[in-house]
């Protein structure tokens, strides 16, 4: 079983992964600004979200941020797009500061 990590540079990519593969999406986040990556949207028949963790960067001072890591597993064949939005939870009606999309094609 392989483990891959997708980051900011992978925004908009399409990747092909075999069923059973575990992978993560790791993005810079600074929640003390009020901004966070939203819970990911995807087709739950194709993927499973297994982890949602935030790690403060070593060396961060007051106001410093860290990394948000979403862990996934490919459940079945098919195509789905993971969508994330970087926004303040209470500003639901405003456009996000950033978005991230990764399309996953599950294969045998």
């Amino acid at each position: 079983m392989t483990t891959s990590t997708y980051q900011e540079r992978d925004r908009g990519r399409t990747v092909t992964l075999t069923v059973g593969t575990r992978f993560s999406v790791e993005l810079e986040e600074n929640p003390t600004t009020g901004y966070k990556w939203s819970a990911p949207e995807f087709d739950g028949r194709s993927l499973a979200l297994e982890a949602d963790d935030y790690t403060l960067a070593k060396g961060a001072a007051i106001g410093g941020g860290g990394t948000r890591k979403f862990g996934f597993a490919v459940k079945s064949t098919g195509r789905t797009t993971i969508r994330l939005a970087y926004r303040r939870p209470w500003e639901k009606d405003t456009a996000p500061e950033a978005t991230f999309e990764l399309t996953v094609i599950g294969t045998r």
């Binding site: 600074n30 003390t32 600004t33 960067a57 001072a61 007051i62 106001g63 303040r88 939870p89 500061e97």
Partner: protein, 237 residues
């Protein structure tokens, strides 16, 4: 039978709120707290918390709650935290420290907002050409660790700078008194403390997450919660 000794009154008034300061010689009544700002996506809260206290101190010093004062968070963060101290909006060198920010407010001082308007994101220091003539400085500053001294300062001198730990339940605050109940640790944050209420045991703070958050950008937080009163920083004009 001996009379029970009356409890000594604390050396500060029961409540202070610099947003609604009553006339008290030599200060006229009014709102000495400048408008709520928005740091947006940059971890520059130390600059915002520090200058919120600095701006209020200017209004108090000038005995003018209506004085238009807006100092440049961009100058403090991008010209000092970034250019001189190697700090950034995020990442392993993200954020800053109040002591360092106050030292910069003392020397060389901070320019006004129009001289270097704030936009979020790491960037070079680009102040107006006559920036040296537009500096405002503090005379001195100190770190306070006694809650009695914090209240005395708030009651007699003005707002303070404070830092605390943000947990996920802080985002959903909109009124009342914040107590941490649930949610993951998100990191350290710096704000300006503009008052307190001893009867209900809370501090009144000005955040830098725009007026869309909290109680029009402000929040009340219970004494002793999430490190809010472990230390505060005071400045003098």
């Amino acid at each position: 039978m001996a009379m029970a000794a009356a409890a000594a009154a604390p050396p500060y008034p029961p409540a202070i709120d610099w947003r609604h300061f009553p006339a008290h010689a030599p200060l006229p009544a009014g709102d000495y707290v400048t408008p709520v700002r928005d740091q947006k996506t940059c971890g520059s809260c130390v600059a915002f918390g520090t200058l919120a206290a600095f701006e209020a101190a200017i209004r108090i010093h000038d005995k003018n709650p209506a004085k238009a004062v807006d100092l440049s968070e961009a100058d403090l963060f991008y010209c000092h935290a970034e250019a001189e101290h190697g700090r950034h909006c995020s990442g392993p060198s993200g954020g800053w420290w109040p002591d360092a920010a106050l030292a910069c407010c003392q020397n060389p001082g901070v320019v006004d907002e129009p001289c270097f308007p704030y936009t979020p994101g790491d960037q070079p220091c680009k102040k107006c050409t006559d920036w040296k003539k537009r500096l405002t400085k503090i005379a001195k500053w100190q770190k306070i660790t006694s809650t009695t001294a914090m209240k005395q300062w708030l009651a007699t001198r003005g707002p303070l700078i404070t830092c605390f730990t943000v947990y996920a339940d802080f985002y959903s605050y909109h009124s009342g008194i914040y107590h941490h109940v649930s949610g993951a640790l998100e990191g350290g944050h710096c704000v300006c403390c503009v008052g307190y209420d001893d009867a209900r045991r809370y501090w009144i703070c000005k955040n830098s997450w725009n007026t869309t958050w909290g109680d029009h950008g402000f929040f009340n937080i219970a004494y002793g919660q999430v490190g809010i009163d472990a230390a505060m920083w005071a400045l003098e004009i």
